[in-house]
Symmetry: D2
Subunit: 384 residues, 4 copies
């Protein structure tokens, strides 16, 4: 019997549009799922670009008006992969139209937007998911499993960094990601959000935070063309950078654990170091997204003379997700975290269950982002 | 104007069938090429299995008789991804039928088979390619570029290992890869072949070899079902292992460089360590397939006080192939080496040029494999 | 002509006494200096122990009354290597007696003590030095040189951790290092002090801090015998832990750089990870005391395609201190940082110059420790 | 009661003289042994240099005639640390004089010399030891212990390299280490000898070898002054390099294990990489002298999902030798391997037992070196 097909309408076709499209294209190739994705429509404002994206990425249709896509009765899932300032409007409309809403992170540009979005999906009883894709790396899911099984014992420390260097050059242009009205926030919302998700996923909720946001380069050449990270070109005119370049904060977890978080786009040499270390009473783990197929693990249960951090290659068939791909140590990459996320989201949608992560995670993440921002402004600890 | 489509007929649907299928499915998604692949037909003897593979992997048709596929006038390319004992027959038939022939490595089970295959493609003037996919990792292609640009200077040393451990357990069953009549050889042809390809690709031809093949476990439980690496189950009956477990040899290159090669399936803890180090007069490089997005590089031109092996993340848009995928340090995986290879092969086919690597590489590789085997038997150096 | 000999009186014979003794014994063996150390007297309260230490470590005399040593006219240098609660009294007496005073860190148990000590050495015009020995690792001194030469450009980020795990077990006994009246503080003063010294040494002064001290295990078995880290044995009776187990804080540097600091004795698996990363506009460096012969360096000046963190082995004859020891990559260890420090201190004493680091560094370090403690109490940022 | 003192006469004062002197100076400081070393006399031909060495290194006397030292009735131990062409004469004379003979490796410049030396110490019934110091790194001794306890199971593979780059520059001068009449052999005897010792120590005796020695640069500028590695200066005149630059060979062990060995002074970027990997049926280990405080270990007994190579820091008090030095992860260095060796040798001498390693090891090592040389000449396998 043919499996049920879910029609997706994807709003956005840039970097995230490419990653999500690939996930939809591949998910049923690698996973044996009870349902199937159909790549129904991709949507963007620029017809020339979106039609090209549709062909490149393998979508059946393209559209330039997201409202039409949202209203299209054939569409089951609206995937919101646009810049942050448009998330709320699209997601709320989709929820009202009864669609499943799957949204890039951070879900809103403000906490209020996130709240409105969460309210909308809950009020309309629709399925919702958020693309905190790094959870879905096999090594991170393995970390979760290990913690749930008690292998780390009581957690004492979480320390996470997300370090990049793509704007360390003061002449790098003022792209949309550096403009608060479009991007919502800078490093903080873009990449500190990922560390926060790792922390919440693995160590539970925070109880208080104290942090600092900072902008090193306050004016930059206006970009000749507003494009994604990779495509911008500089011009002579200068404009104000209205977001943070770096974000750092201390935290307490409800469990009693302590946390240190730092994100920066000025860490020269660090291209995409999304990394964390967790120390518990029974063991510790270390993860680095740049070597995402590996998880370092120290077990306090090992004989003292024979103990040390070991590098688990999270590529065994018995590791989360890994068995769907290739033999052991034939590694997977960045794009597979999206495939894994879509597989999980699709199954939960099909089975009428909540996705994980979903808008609650998106909202809780944003509560923390917001609290850190307020902490930075008030120079004080903020209780969550 | 629509691009020309090339119809592929893929013979084989197991591990390599899955990897090749993925490459055909993805190549035009990530690469902007002058031509397109159409996944026309996948072929295997077991109809239930092959029909399922066709659906899973995205093929338009399936077939159970490879001869029919080879004779099908719609087919442009025959991809041979079956066990080694069937390569020659299929490839030669395909060449005679005027098809492009793309073949898994090692191309034949014997040197004679490889010779016959090379003769066939040359005699029939058809396009030919061999799946030495590891060349196509961005980091390995970067290594090639660096050597061509002289960054390593004169090469003094190549040392390569390919270490796995999947048969270290003496109770692991007697799968087809351990039977000479099917697999041709063991570790030697399966994975030493990859080191040889890296060596030839980066350092040129060998002039002589001296080596040793060894089988540690000479009898194993007969597999309940002859399946791929992953799927075999053991039974009570014992059978003879007729291939080598480990292969090691010394070599001289025509350039005057020295080489050390070692491959084993008994290196406990090494899951897929396909790694090499090359030392030249100006610098050195180190590569490990398990961290395939990285290339270690030492430059003798650096100030002495500031020199050291650096880890290049071969994920910049300016690195070979990498710009087709994701932003810097958003890594790719094993499967992408096949996509890159298919992209190159397709372009060369479309442009009427020789593919690289092709059957000449397959044959030369096999000459070396064969010479090492003879060296092991005669306990002497063999000139190539 | 015979070199001038400086007679040392060492107060303390435990862990630090052993390390300092070794430095005095070895310094003139490895360094060709204008003056010499004579190991005159070692002093401790327990005669049996100190006499044994004198013999083991190579001291000419031993004593049980530190006041007699301080007053001994033959003694040129008083080295204070006792627990922190006795530093101030001994050091001030030594300063008044006109001796050079070389003291373990942190120099006092309170900021006031540190102030009094600094005042005393300055008022009496005596030579003073503090044992922030990690500065003297060749790799750290190389880092300093690189920063001074501008190789890192403008510094944006300092992130330092000092992670140990020796009290993660809640049954580990209440040794003196866990008692505020003896040790002054816990993790904070013991090991966060080292990160602070690295930060000040390499990136200059801090302008403000915001931090948190925390004690995970608030009661522990009373140690059967108050001994050094290694020697304590537990008993049935419980006592209060009066110091912090973990310390973490954010900071701004006067230069505009940002800092994140974390120290813990609960980082299971981390035995002695004293590590920092510094990101500047032209490059970055990473150091880990556990691999103290190495310095990781990323240069933004490298060709983009060939850039990456390189591992400099700071063992070349041209690297700081390294030429005094062994050929390149024949590594040195922990004890050599003390030898290097003593060599520098001896030369500065002989030449009538200020040592580096000295009590000003000790005092400034303690100002920061103190500010973090107050920040933790007041839950606010503290300006320095 | 005073411990018995053993008077040492050290012949040679260059690199090895410095390392041995340090070991004698430090051994009773760090180890609590039943006997003591007294640094009686150091001997060299150049009085100005040797007198300076005596003062620097801490010897009571110096001498310029080694025969007088050998004949001196006060001397208990003759340590032979001169270039290889003088070992045999000195060691045999010392044996005849009834002294304990401790000798640098390789013990002789030829197999015959080594045989004569072994015969001499055995015939005269004197204590003998050889400075294969790398055995005495805590991590290597731990490896030995682990293998003896069966943690690696049956050994299948040994692969060792010793890579340096100090003569990769063709203008590096013709120092004594490049002259066969002084050094005996080149890379082969100097550093391949160390790999061989590691292999024998950990995996037992070899049964056959097949190898190749090669000289890349056949003429070099004659050194202005014949000095140790570090001190030579080049001149205009060219001379013949009469030793090998690189050595590589395959081997079988008596146990059935296979071995691959490679040593080179042309591995640009490798400063002192003395490294090996051993794969057994139950686990594997990896060692690299440049990170000599660490031992990588993979245990096949770990749960499959949690297995990986772990980095043991061989610095616990419970690890071999480590408890004599510093707390965990406060690392030791190159020089400590000599201290450990001397401690062991002294104890065995005092207790009337055979040292390990001793001249039997020196001779067996040289048998292998010699067999590889013959194999290289005859282009064939040589049985041992």
């Amino acid at each position: 019997m043919a499996k049920k097909q879910y029609n997706v309408g994807l709003i956005g076709y840039q970097f995230m549009g490419k990653a999500h499209s690939n996930a939809y294209r591949q998910v049923n190739r690698f996973f044996d799922l009870p349902a199937e994705i159909h790549m129904h429509t991709i949507c963007g404002r620029n017809e020339a670009n979106v039609s090209k994206a549709a062909a490149n990425f393998g979508w059946t249709n393209y559209a330039t008006d997201w409202r039409a896509v949202v209203e299209n009765p054939e569409i089951d899932i609206i995937d919101v992969a646009t810049p942050g300032n448009t998330h709320a409007e699209i997601a709320i409309a989709a929820a009202k139209a009864g669609k499943a809403v799957w949204c890039e992170k951070p879900i809103g540009n403000t906490l209020q937007e996130a709240k409105d979005m969460l309210d909308a999906v809950q009020a309309n009883g629709v399925h919702h998911a958020v693309f905190h894709n790094y959870r879905k790396a096999p090594a991170v899911s393995l970390a979760k499993k290990m913690i749930e099984e008690g292998l780390l014992g009581e957690i004492h420390h979480f320390r996470g960094v997300y370090l990049q260097d793509w704007i360390a050059d003061p002449n790098f242009p003022l792209v949309w990601r550096l403009q608060k009205e479009v991007a919502g926030s800078g490093t903080h919302g873009d990449i500190a959000a990922h560390i926060i998700d790792s922390a919440r996923f693995l160590c539970g909720e925070l109880s208080e935070v104290c942090g600092l946001l900072h902008t090193f380069v306050k004016q930059r050449p206006i970009a000749g063309e507003i494009d994604d990270k990779m495509g911008a070109t500089a011009s002579d005119k200068m404009g104000d950078v209205t977001v943070d370049d770096a974000s750092m904060f201390l935290a307490r977890f409800k469990s009693g654990a302590l946390g240190v978080f730092e994100a920066s786009r000025f860490a020269v040499g660090r291209k995409n170091k999304n990394s964390f270390e967790i120390n518990g009473s029974r063991g510790s783990i270390v993860y680095n997204q740049e070597r995402m197929n590996e998880l370092e693990y120290y077990s306090n249960d090992d004989p003292k003379d024979l103990s040390g951090f070991r590098v688990i290659q999270a590529t065994e068939a018995s590791h989360p997700y890994a068995g769907n791909y290739w033999p052991v140590a034939h590694i997977i990459g960045y794009e597979h975290t999206f495939i894994n996320l879509v597989a999980d989201a699709l199954v939960s949608l099909h089975e009428g269950k909540a996705a994980s992560p979903n808008f609650v995670d998106g909202y809780e993440n944003q509560r923390i982002l917001d609290a850190v921002e307020r902490s930075s402004e008030t120079r004080s600890w903020i209780r969550l």
